[in-house]
Symmetry: C2
DNA sequence: GCTCTATTTTTGTCAGACAGAATTTCTTGC
DNA sequence: GCAAGAAATTCTGTCTGACAAAAATAGAGC
């Protein structure tokens, strides 16, 4: 018998509900590699058997694990696969936290004022040719979209994500991705309202050039000015810099 | 009847399992304020009744929500309360992601090199007397602990968290907390190995003074130097700056 | 070997049950 | 009238057993 109940055998007097203990135990097995990433979880019945509990209890444990992102169902409604939690999984939660905290644009802006210039600087020293090519492609598509009068929001977010990716620093990317996703849409809107698409593109181009030529200082300083444009843009467009961000949010499924 | 099933009434041919739809619906109600933060969730039976499903289904939905951090049980095993997900909730997940990504100390250091000086600078302009008092108290305790030869790890992490808190910027705090929690223990160890407790305390003191006197530039620059000490310390102590971080992790309970 | 059907698993859901903890209601003594 | 204690009620955690539909597997036939 599988004793994960700290010796407390009575189902109702245990300090921790069984479904929680089981979720924890399964989590450990996954993180320790006993249940390797990519494999499928045993069926509910066999897990129930293995842990000596009923299927309902197992199911509740699985729901907990599911929401952590370490297990996920493959396409359709078949078996559960063990996976590595993805950035979007945790991004959704950070977003929720931001929204519930009534985060303002100014606060996001402060974060990005710190992070983005550093990203550009690091990218200037560490970017690969492949990274550069992706950024340049983004630049070209942005120019095309602007010429066609299209929306630049998505491309703007992408540009900054690509610069961050070029640093090769996963922690940096994780730290800024959510903030950027919430911030840049507002940024691009401000720029659109000011008819400052040209200016946005120029800044992106300058940042790219600096990164491509490996000039840390220039990359840092252009990105700094670029982010600074948002504050100035808010003033010019008479927008409330202190307004809390809004947006749809869901962490389920 | 509460139709959350997109018009698909047949329980088994629905595109999305009921427990998932219900979790989503409850999430919306919470985020929209229909179920206000601080209130308690209705009992499982009444939810089952309300959604026209069985209690098991409701329970599975609750497990999903529970893991997102927007509901949590108050002390003991009584009702579930609607809460605001706090930093620790998502911190665990970010930590897991960092660990699975084999994040190195250098990467964390890069993040903090960007964020921490900005935190200090903002704190210099926005900190309240209460914030300052807390930081000063931390300083005193750090000095006492150092004089007694105690471990400074916890106090170091706390110092930087307090500085971040003094910015009044929740997004900034959220962005740096996890990184700091993983990084500063290593920092403090390096300093301890180098017998550089004095230096750590001096830096903290200088940063505090700058913040207290509202000197943005000084605060920024002292924090910058302080963080820079880690890199130098690694060199001096002959530690591997590129080593991936390690640590225990669990997201359950 | 390969496709198409039949059988077995597996998941999602339900109804009903029960013990023990928590909560509420009701007594009863002051 | 109110507080302490007892009784009734609710609620959670867990289990059993059941069933339909989807998916996986085994067979059968070509």
């Amino acid at each position: 018998m599988n004793d994960i109940f700290n010796g407390e055998t009575d189902a109702t007097t245990r300090s921790r509900p069984a479904f929680r203990s089981i979720a924890r135990e399964l989590e450990q097995q996954i993180l320790s590699g006993a249940l390797p990433v990519g494999s499928t979880l045993p069926s509910e019945t066999s897990l129930a058997d293995q842990f000596n509990v009923s299927r309902s209890t197992i199911r509740e444990a699985i729901r907990l694990l599911e929401q952590t992102g370490i297990i996920r169902r493959a396409e359709g409604r078949n078996k559960l696969r063990i996976t590595m939690p993805r950035a979007e999984d945790i991004g959704a939660r950070i977003k929720t936290a931001f929204l519930l905290q009534e985060t303002t644009f100014e606060q996001l802006w402060e974060v990005l004022t710190a992070i983005e210039p550093m990203c550009a600087a690091i990218a200037a020293t560490k970017s690969s040719p492949d990274d550069l090519e992706k950024i340049e492609d983004n630049l070209r598509r942005t120019e095309t979209a602007h010429a066609a009068g299209d929306d630049l929001v998505g491309l703007d977010v992408e540009f900054h994500n690509l610069v961050a990716a070029a640093t090769g620093n996963g922690a940096l990317q994780l730290s800024r991705e959510t903030v950027g996703e919430l911030f840049y849409p507002a940024f691009a809107q401000v720029m659109a309202r000011l008819n400052a698409g040209e200016r946005l593109i120029l800044a992106h181009r300058k940042i790219f050039d600096a990164i491509a030529s490996g000039d840390r200082g220039e990359a840092h300083s252009w990105m700094d000015r670029h982010i600074g444009d948002f504050q100035r843009g808010c003033d010019l467009a008479n927008l409330d810099f202190d307004a809390p961000i809004t947006g749809p949010m869901s962490e389920i499924s």
